[in-house]
Symmetry: C2
Subunit: 314 residues, 2 copies
């Protein structure tokens, strides 16, 4: 069975963010050819959605200077949803021109983080979502727009983030034209009770527009938080191969949820991901070749699969 | 407020197994004085139950040669439940003589692991539980007896472990006189769906005698599995400071759930543990001094507590 078929059977969508979130948070720049090999390997393992690049000025993030080329390559992979991060209209124009299938915008619930990350207030970012939705409607109505509410569970700069404010911001993003609104634990502050509470409210407010859980493993709770979100009905989960990534503008942020461990959790629970775990672990090869010396994480790749492990059918 | 008071308010009991499970699985032997300092620090942090030693022949586990002295010291700490592992009658006699408050017996659901670990079949171990319960009834009726069903979620030697067999064995242990029967993921094979299923059955069969969840983090799912168990009503969780431990007779077993991360999870969820996280992290000091060069793990100690983190009241 091809990876495309298995995506159709998947009960959860694992959205790989390593080529964007991971690569932008390390100092080294992965050569374009290595990026393409890595993305090919991720696709071959059965990943149905990959956030492949960020459309930001190359002087700010030289690691993303080849964003357009990477997007163009990824769109040739059958069945793959190619996502790109865009912080503003200029980025959105470039991403649409390159052919991205889905745009994701970071909208921070923490004012302090929002100003540090994108130099705009949360309210200004909602207006940016509206402008990009209009741009999309005019030029490429088939492209999906996602808003990811970052620091939704707390912020290293301002500490606690008001839950009402998170939900209000999510609703504003949906009203401004985002088809999906996810919640991001940018700095690894979330706990399972809070995850249940916020996703329950999000789903109650937004219904089908309630989007992905983007969890970090900074304090070891990444998978427990994904489990809590799953049990609240969330079906899309961001994760990063080898746990690569973080946010360079949020001090102390580190460690996206490890894709390999997340897929192992779901597959061992009998929840189909459409992903071949052996092939996924093999996709660490091009990642490590393209970023020599960069540490990669993951308990499942180190321990190996259990004896007699039976993945869901592929 | 003293640790004794806070235990009474705790909603979950964290049972620290590092001084037994952790220390028996490293090659070095921690000097007795360091063990006592470490146990004192754990008690001072608010831990209400500590598995302090294993009563096995010193030629098999020289790390545990001072078991009686360690138990005698620990019983002087106010409010602490002092637990000791006993594989057989001879061990139980020594543990009772030393004054242990609670005995725990490993009863493996995997025949292969049982023979490797204690050189007895599961059926023979049930008879050993019965004999030790009789010994306890005659000499120290106030002492509690726990059976921990090891390899309850799978085994590196035999692979899959039949769930009916796990529950049958647990019931047999309770009928033989164990007041608590817990389930152990000795080799880190468990997943949250399986944890829910087995603890639900265990609680349905044994009611108040259903005991602790002993989870390993071998494949990164330790906390997610504890969360699943908690949501099924489990209130006692084994964990090891710094993640020290494993099982020397189960190839590939490593990594008890890290006490610091587990306590952070519950406290951040608003579930009182009675434990002071700062003091708990400080208890890593004597552990590291007593085992120089031994790696200790834990994401929360490395990342620090979140800004504005509010633990439950102590």
């Amino acid at each position: 069975m091809t990876s495309v078929d298995s995506h159709q059977q998947a009960a959860v969508l694992i959205s790989e963010v390593g080529p964007r979130d991971g690569l932008q948070s390390v100092d080294a720049t992965m050569p374009t050819a290595d990026k393409l090999r890595w993305i090919d390997a991720l696709h071959a393992a059965g990943l149905g959605e990959i956030e492949v690049a960020s459309f930001v000025p190359a002087r700010l993030l030289p690691q993303m200077a080849d964003a357009a080329e990477v997007v163009r390559h990824a769109t040739m992979l059958p069945g793959l949803t190619v996502m790109a991060l865009v912080p503003n209209r200029r980025g959105a124009e470039a991403a649409l021109a390159a052919g991205a299938h889905k745009l994701t915008m970071p909208v921070s619930a923490s004012r302090a983080h929002s100003l540090a990350n994108v130099r705009r207030t949360p309210e200004e970012m909602v207006e940016e979502v509206r402008a990009i939705a209009a741009l999309r409607d005019g030029h490429a109505p088939e492209v999906r727009l996602e808003a990811g509410i970052s620091t939704a569970f707390g912020c290293t700069l301002q500490g606690r983030v008001d839950e009402d404010e998170v939900i209000r911001l999510a609703v504003q993003c949906a009203e401004a034209g985002a088809q999906e609104v996810g919640l991001s634990d940018t700095v690894g502050y979330a706990n399972p009770a809070q995850v249940r509470r916020l996703f329950r409210r999000l789903r109650s407010e937004l219904g089908e527009r309630a989007g992905a859980a983007h969890m970090h493993n900074t304090r070891g709770l990444g998978l427990a938080n994904c489990l809590a979100a799953f049990e609240e009905g969330v079906t899309t989960f961001d994760a990063s191969l080898g746990g690569l990534g973080g946010c360079p503008y949020a001090p102390g942020a580190s460690g996206n949820v490890v894709t390999e461990d997340l897929v192992f959790m779901f597959e061992s629970m009998g929840v189909p991901t459409g992903i071949d775990l052996e092939a996924l672990i093999a996709a660490r090869g091009p990642l490590m070749q393209g970023l020599p010396g960069e540490p990669v994480y993951g308990m499942t790749p180190e321990a190996g699969l259990p004896k007699g492990f039976a993945p869901t059918a592929h």
